[in-house]
Amino acid sequence: MSLLEIRGISRFFGGLAAVSDVSFMVDKGAIVGLIGPNGAGKTTVFNMINGFYAPSKGEIYFKGEKISQLKPHQICKRGIARTFQVVKPLQRMTVLDNVIASAFVRARNRAQAEAMAMETLKFTGLYDDRAILSKSLPLGKRKKLEIARALATQPEMLLLDESCAGLNPSELNEAIEIIKKIRDRGITILIIEHHMKVIMSISDRIVVINYGQKIAEGTPLEIRHNPLVIEAYLGEAQSA
């Protein structure tokens, strides 16, 4: 059975359909890539799964339960965590406090929350930076902090919104390793990414959207050779 099931969701902003009639499924334990040109509606899809927007049409099911009318904090408690494309660290808190704040969702007391946070910081390689105020972190580490914070809520499913954008090559390899390690823990991942090397190398399946509509879905190999996808990214090949 699939962990996350998206059934024909649409979202309108005024007259504009940011997302229209998108459906796909995410199997447990998989890494699914969500790609598409700028403004295709990828983050809007995330915002609907995460509960920031209610879908104008369609439904979302998580573990067989309908979640599309719930609030973000309720969805987080059910086991879906997300990161933000534009990082949102809790600026005037230390890295450790950032992660403790999110670990409290599952922890019974402060000591337990701190233990969970420490473990997450070691896992993501931020342990040495734990006492730094998060507003003074460089971008690469802020992206990691986003992941650490999401992981500290002990999700079953993680939504990564461009967690690799803006990283240098060595940070990029590190990020790929972390994502694979997260998958090895049994956490299902839905990832938005522009970096084709990343998305092709880690995804089990890829969903492509353009102008708010799903135009293709398949394995990385199928996607690479899909003419619709090539057209969406490069324009019509013949006209060049």
């Binding site: 904090h73 809790l90 704040a101 999110s102 969702v105 402060r110």
Partner: protein, 312 residues
């Protein structure tokens, strides 16, 4: 050493009256402690949870009138207003929170500004309940000496300080600060932001209300213009915390000392009239420009400036 600072300071405050201060100095001391309580209340909501309120006079005033009204209507001691105000103010805060906490940032601020004024105008016009602009006079004072009033407000301040310190180190504190820093991130990290903002507002309101109930008993007279005052309660509350240091444990106390002394100083200037608010404004501008984190928040900056002055 730092750990014992609150206890040492509490002991020092408790000993001050024993040196035999004049009635006027005791009055100043009581005002300082009372304002630090109001400042701590505001700081919990505005400083830690990031929900800036320009209407704390509403809670102070409702607390004050809880004590005043049970005295005039039921004929019991106005001291019963202290426990009663907790319930009344919490209910008022729940209603206000339900309406205004769905607004964010400046919109929330404006709604609190309006709420404070709504309460003042209501208190002026609900003459059957509040006696309107006539005010409420507590005819028999409990003590002539000020010392017991001082110990009562000192006790309230000590309990408030302890409570806030415990709260900030707990789950609640982490959630409050997370909401202040980024409400969307907090929400997506599983924090029910509406619920926790309401908790912060209720706690803050109840503490401010306690100070109000104490004020009725201490001053023996209240009227809507005094206890629901925008400029003398709501704005001064914000200034106490701004001057002292937002989101610091000691900020409200430092701010209360400075603001009460400053207000007394201004009052001694002849022919000033309502222009004293201009001086408050100037002080606020100076603080925002030079010490944006307040005196308690920028201590290292102040020390550094002093050291440069001395070495040069």
């Amino acid at each position: 050493m730092r750990k014992f600072l609150p206890i040492v300071l509490l002991a020092l405050f408790a000993l001050i009256p024993l040196v035999g201060l004049s009635s006027y100095l005791m009055h100043i001391l009581i005002l300082v402690v009372m304002w630090s309580v109001i400042g701590m209340a505001w700081n919990l909501l505005g400083g830690y949870c990031g929900q800036v309120s320009f209407g704390h006079a509403a809670f102070f005033g409702v607390g004050a009138y809880s004590a005043g009204i049970i005295y005039t209507k039921l004929g019991v001691s106005a001291w019963w207003g202290i426990p009663l105000s907790i319930i009344v103010v919490a209910l008022v805060a729940l209603v206000i929170g339900y309406i205004s906490l769905r607004l964010r940032g400046p919109y929330f601020v404006l709604s609190t500004l309006a709420i404070g004024e709504v309460f003042r105008v209501s208190a002026e016009n609900l003459e059957g309940l509040t006696q309107g602009n006539l005010g409420i006079l507590i005819q028999e004072r409990t003590w002539v000496e000020k010392i017991w009033y001082f110990y009562i407000i000192l006790f309230i301040a000590a309990v408030t300080f302890y409570l806030i310190k415990k709260t900030i180190a707990s789950r609640l504190g982490y959630y409050f600060v997370a909401i202040r820093e980024d409400q969307d991130a907090a929400e997506s990290l599983g924090i029910n932001t509406t619920l926790y903002k309401t908790i912060a507002l209720c706690m803050s309101a109840v503490i401010a209300g306690l100070a109000g109930a104490f004020y009725t008993n201490y001053m023996g007279y209240i009227d809507p213009d005094v206890v629901f005052s925008l400029s003398d309660i709501s704005i001064v509350t914000v200034m106490v915390v701004m001057v002292g240091g937002v989101a610091t444990f000691w900020g409200p106390l430092v701010g209360a000392v400075i603001m009460v002394l400053f207000a007394e100083l201004i009052r001694s200037i002849p022919m000033l009239g309502a222009a004293h608010q201009t001086l408050f404004g100037i002080l606020l501008i100076i603080i925002i420009i030079f010490l944006p984190n307040g005196i308690a928040g920028d201590t290292s900056k102040i020390l550094r400036l002093l050291r440069i002055r001395r070495s040069s």
